[in-house]
Symmetry: C2
Subunit: 359 residues, 2 copies
């Protein structure tokens, strides 16, 4: 049984293409009174991006804070805010939800668009194919590249009990606006960590047991582009990084991520680490699993003078350790992809603990 992969419906790519956002959204507005909801990373408050947003009078603009990774409670709160905004409006739902920011902001936009049409808490839908109703139209304008959130069928959320995505065909964006000019200002090490998310996607996809030629083609291209961007500094590095993220995300369609992502989820759950940093912290200890990938990753780090956070787990309590291991072990497809059907004989609780204690 092969997955029937839902692709993003429409993509516009090019330097300056974000200026077309207004026209693109106008085509989706159901009437002159239609409401669009903009969720925008609050790092852009007061900047030029804010002044370029194609807001109409009845639209809702929300600055979202993603200092922490998106939580289900935050998604529920934003959904309530949108619902309140819609009271007394002509339409029941907004004509669209647009996420402008990095992976976390895009994930918030996906999740809110889903929760407007699906009852209950977003925590009820963490898992695979639990969403019942189509989302409202949702679009993304990435301002950081690497996560692949722009093309994935998941929105990764930290819930009361687990860090796990809402995986559904309905999660996939209807529109993405890929403007390399928007990622030009991203500071290091954030740009690096987010880029490494993509690089690690490629390593885990290409060395996984689930790989097929579709995932391989995308994974190889994304890896080539990462190498160019982080080992050669081409003039069009932003364009290439944006395409690397796109291709890396597509590569996961028929494969999966692996050891690094599984461990990183646990680490983020307990320490609240951002996904990109979490991945980088973990990956540096995975030479046994991905020797060539880890070597190249260190080359990229050295080149940019990146200092990884160390000794995170020093002084960790037993309860925290158990929680990390539990979160990591839930992610069975990741382990199976990385280590094969017998992964449970290789990746025991003790082995995972041992790895975590190094970090």
């Amino acid at each position: 049984m092969f997955r029937n992969f839902k692709m993003v419906s429409k993509v516009v790519f090019g330097r300056g293409c974000a200026s077309q956002l207004g026209d693109i959204l106008n085509a989706q507005r159901r009437s002159s009174k239609a409401v669009m909801v903009f969720l925008v990373d609050d790092v852009f408050k007061g900047g030029t991006l804010e002044s370029r947003l194609p807001l109409h009078a009845d639209d809702l603009m929300v600055w979202v804070n993603v200092d922490d990774e998106p939580k289900t409670s935050y998604v529920d709160q934003l959904t309530t805010q949108v619902k309140k905004h819609m009271v007394g409006k002509q339409d029941r739902h907004p004509s669209g939800v647009i996420g402008i920011g990095g992976g976390s902001t895009m994930d918030l936009a996906k999740a809110v668009s889903l929760m407007l049409t699906n009852a209950g808490s977003s925590a009820d839908y963490q898992g695979w194919d639990l969403i019942k109703n189509p989302a409202v139209y949702h679009a993304a304008v990435p301002t950081l590249s690497g996560t692949g959130a722009e093309v994935s069928r998941t929105t990764v959320l930290t819930g009361p009990k687990k860090k796990l995505g809402i995986n559904s065909d309905h999660t996939v964006f209807d529109q993405i606006v890929l403007d390399p000019e928007l990622i030009a200002g991203a500071p290091n090490p954030q740009r690096f960590y987010t880029g490494m998310d993509c690089y690690i996607h490629c390593v885990e996809s290409l060395e996984g047991t689930y790989l097929n030629s579709f995932s391989q083609a995308y994974g190889e291209k994304a890896m080539d582009l990462c190498r160019e961007v982080f080992l050669a500094d081409p003039e069009d590095a932003d364009d290439k990084l944006m395409m690397a993220s796109f291709c890396g995300g597509m590569s996961i369609a028929y494969s999966q991520v692996g050891v690094c992502h599984a461990l990183s989820y646990g680490l983020s759950f307990v320490f609240g680490l951002h996904h990109g940093i979490g991945n980088s912290v973990v990956f540096d200890y995975l030479e046994d699993f991905y020797p060539q990938g880890v070597r190249e990753f260190r080359q990229m780090m050295d080149r940019l003078g990146i200092d990884l956070p160390r000794n995170l787990t020093a002084g960790i309590t037993d309860a925290q350790m158990n929680s990390m291991v539990d979160v990591a072990l839930v992610l069975e497809p990741l382990w199976e992809n990385a280590l094969g059907k017998d992964w449970k004989t290789i990746m025991t609780r003790e082995k995972i603990q041992e790895l975590y204690l190094k970090m």
Copy 2:
């Protein structure tokens, strides 16, 4: 202004995935009485593929003949046949049109699905964005790889006056089923010529003036895959050729084809040559425009012992020559992509004639 590129909605890829076609289509059948229309290349008559078609009692199966490239008259005839089949049925339109074959068959399926919901003759819609109404659901199961028809927004048709596609977002397939096992049986030189369509897409896209990083990423990957398939015979050549075709088609999204395709359209219009052969015949005379590409193409030909048809235009009439030149010159975006904004000063009628006379 950047194109807002419509992508295929769903894609399933994998060896044997065509066996999922029945389930995929069942999810689209509007009722137990719903009709699916299968347009299947008649080379498969009596073969195993025929027995595997997931036909329901009320479905319509049509063997299509693509010895000639698809004509608008043939599209209109098939559309009438489908409409007649629907008389007395519960639904006005079929629940879907499925093309099973190479680029020509896929193009027929696209065109029929459009013409069921748009009045008049398909010849009325040859051009860009002339289609008014969405098509009925349409899916493709390629049995030859290279044309990129599985992902493109065009269906190339020969009309009474021109060879030109119906270019529209509505043309794009809702579903593609990419099963490398289905292309395993394609005989040479047909497999080669169709593969070269992809290779030439890459050369023309990568060397065109319209190129951006999106088209470049896809074009480079498709070219790498073509090289593997035609210069190295990998074990998974069918899988790789299928992905090359997919990526080559995606590469055209933001770029265009160029000199070879423009001239090939004229050649096909007058001599009824199939697109893949036409491209190969033309490409061999384009060393001035694509020196490296033509050299590598010849290497691939030599390796497979391909003999190109020669002296096609010997004894051509003035009327035929004028017609070829006219058809080629209509394709302005192709020329502009290949030669820049001043292309008219480079590619005169005389220059085109001179090239045609060599072929």
